[in-house]
């Protein structure tokens, strides 16, 4: 997937991959991360 120039909402999970880690990957792939959130399901 080419993320260059795309706006991305990074949704992560505490016990999986947290939001900031998703955002970092998307950002390095050229995306514009507009929102980063992490969910905690417990």
């Amino acid at each position: 997937m080419d993320l260059r120039g795309k706006k991305v909402i990074a949704l992560g999970e505490r016990d999986g991959v947290p939001g900031p880690a998703v955002a970092e990957c998307a950002s390095r792939a050229g995306a514009d991360v507009v929102l980063t959130l992490t969910a905690c399901y417990v």
Binding site: R14, T38, Y41, V42
Partner: protein
């Protein structure tokens, strides 16, 4: 050169005693945060929930709850048929080596006895039943110097409190008005009846756990407890200081620890790990000989996953409040040592990549004292009961964490890739804790670990808690802290 003092396991603080309690609270499930919000539009939410609310016998014979109070071993639970709610342990006792599963009537009595401002009023019949039952309790009975359970009110007087004075109605599973919780102030959102009932539930279950701890044979005398640290979730305070705190002191007072002071430690669900570390540090420094760490249950988290339970036509298993107490003391030559030289921390710069977090919490602190993951007999991580979380689509949290940990062991070439399942089975355990946040985060295995490290076959256990700091919207960071408990050096390794 500055002189470096290396800390060894000799002279480390020890975990002298542990108590873990549950209080069955089916009537309070409706007042959990999720049920309150989801069922707001429903006329009679208690009728909607009723088919899924268990009686006390079902909660008491529920295998995960029996593991929680120490009657059933974690390996025994892993071998039991599932779903656990369909395979009760017939005749399972209310009391266990670590604590008890208190019935709801007694919990209401306990709540009333823990309420110094008389804000909680109970129905007359319930108050009479609760008083009789609580007075006969072996640990917090009539002769335990606790406040009495006051006389209840008529249904009419309770209804008046609700209608005219803004009290929170507390309905029983049968729909009858069981009680009412008055607000503490007319214009303070932090002192509403709902908030105060949550705070009171936290205080009462922590106090119950502390009383259990103090009732153990050979336990520290209440009058010798000089410092209590609370790490429960509730931010007790008022509108000018929402998390003002010191539930610790309120709990110490109720438990008769007359010479104690204390404070609260907050770090979301990681609070207990920080509190145990700080307690150990206070003891190690010589400032205190003994510190007791306590936490009560979270009413807000009752029924947190209830929609999944309703959808799957199963009982709402998040119907218990939890509490614990831990006595951290100077080394007496027998209890498991808390290794202050092997504390794992998620630091600000640790980042949020799963492997980096795992290294910071596990392999780095172990490596610091010359150990690897394979030197730990059991890891206690997130212990949320999967039977509570999976029906709601939240997955098996303990299993996911154990598999990630096993993945770290593969990366560090300690085990082959095909050894992951065996690592998880031998060094992990099934989740058995109610979804009570801070308590489910590693704490419920403490009683088992203490027994295994003193009388059993364990040499070393590791506890790791995680906190979702980002939920408070002040940082994107999570939190995490790990602790190593070891067989007392004077007892020798097995």
């Amino acid at each position: 050169m500055p002189r470096v003092t290396h800390v060894t396991s000799e002279g480390m603080p020890v975990i002298r005693a542990v108590s873990l309690v549950l209080a069955h609270a089916p009537s309070l499930v409706r007042l959990g945060s999720k049920p309150l919000r989801v069922l707001r539009e429903i006329d009679r939410p208690i009728e909607f929930l009723r088919p899924h609310l268990r009686d006390w016998d079902a909660a008491c014979t529920y295998a995960p709850n029996q593991v929680f109070i120490g009657n059933v071993d974690v390996d025994e639970l892993a071998a039991r048929p599932t779903p656990w709610h369909r395979h009760p342990i017939a005749g399972a006792p209310r009391f266990g080596p670590d604590g008890e599963i208190m019935p709801e009537d007694e919990l209401f009595g306990l709540l009333a006895a823990c309420d110094p401002f008389d804000l909680l009023a109970l129905d007359r019949d319930l108050a009479d039943r609760a008083r009789a039952a609580l007075d006969a309790h072996p640990i917090v009975g009539a002769d335990s110097s606790r406040p009495a359970v006051r006389a209840g009110m008529t249904a009419q007087a309770l209804a008046e409190r609700v209608d005219k004075h803004g009290a929170l109605p507390i309905l029983g599973v049968d729909g009858r008005l069981l009680g009412a919780m008055l607000p503490g102030h007319d214009e303070d959102d932090t002192l509403t009846g709902q908030v105060l009932l949550e705070n009171l539930a936290c205080k009462a279950t922590a106090a119950l756990a502390l009383r259990h701890l103090l009732a153990r044979p050979g336990a520290i005398a209440a009058s010798d407890v000089r410092y209590v640290m609370n790490c429960g979730e509730e931010a007790v305070g008022d509108r000018y200081q929402r998390g003002g705190g010191n539930v610790a002191k309120a709990v110490a007072e109720w438990a008769g620890c007359e010479r104690a002071t204390g404070s609260d430690v907050k770090a979301f669900c990681c609070g207990p790990m920080h509190a145990l570390m700080l307690a150990g540090a206070l003891v190690r420094s010589g400032l205190q000989d003994d510190v007791v760490v306590v936490a009560g249950g979270s009413l807000a988290k009752l029924g947190m996953k209830f929609q999944g339970h309703v959808k799957h036509a199963m009982p709402i298993v998040e119907d218990v409040l939890a509490g614990f107490a831990v006595h951290v003391s100077r080394d007496e030559g027998a209890s498991p040592a808390l290794r202050l030289d092997a504390i794992g921390k998620h630091e600000v710069a640790s980042g949020s990549a799963p492997l980096a977090v795992m290294k910071a919490l596990y392999s780095e602190p172990l490596g610091r004292v010359g150990l690897t993951l394979l030197d730990v007999d059991r890891f206690s991580l997130e212990l949320h009961n999967p039977e509570a979380t999976e029906p709601a689509g939240s997955g098996n949290v303990p299993l996911n964490n154990y598999r990630t940990l096993a993945g770290l062991a593969v990366v560090e070439k300690l085990i082959p890739r095909e050894g992951i399942d065996d690592f998880v089975r031998r060094r992990g355990m099934p989740g058995f804790s109610p979804t009570q946040g801070h308590i489910a985060s590693a704490i419920p295995y403490l009683g088992h670990a203490r027994r295994g490290l003193t009388e059993g076959r364990l040499t070393r256990t590791m506890f790791a808690g995680k906190g979702s700091l980002f939920l408070g919207r002040m940082t994107q960071l999570p939190d995490g802290l790990s602790l190593v408990l070891e067989r007392n050096p004077s007892k020798g390794a097995r």
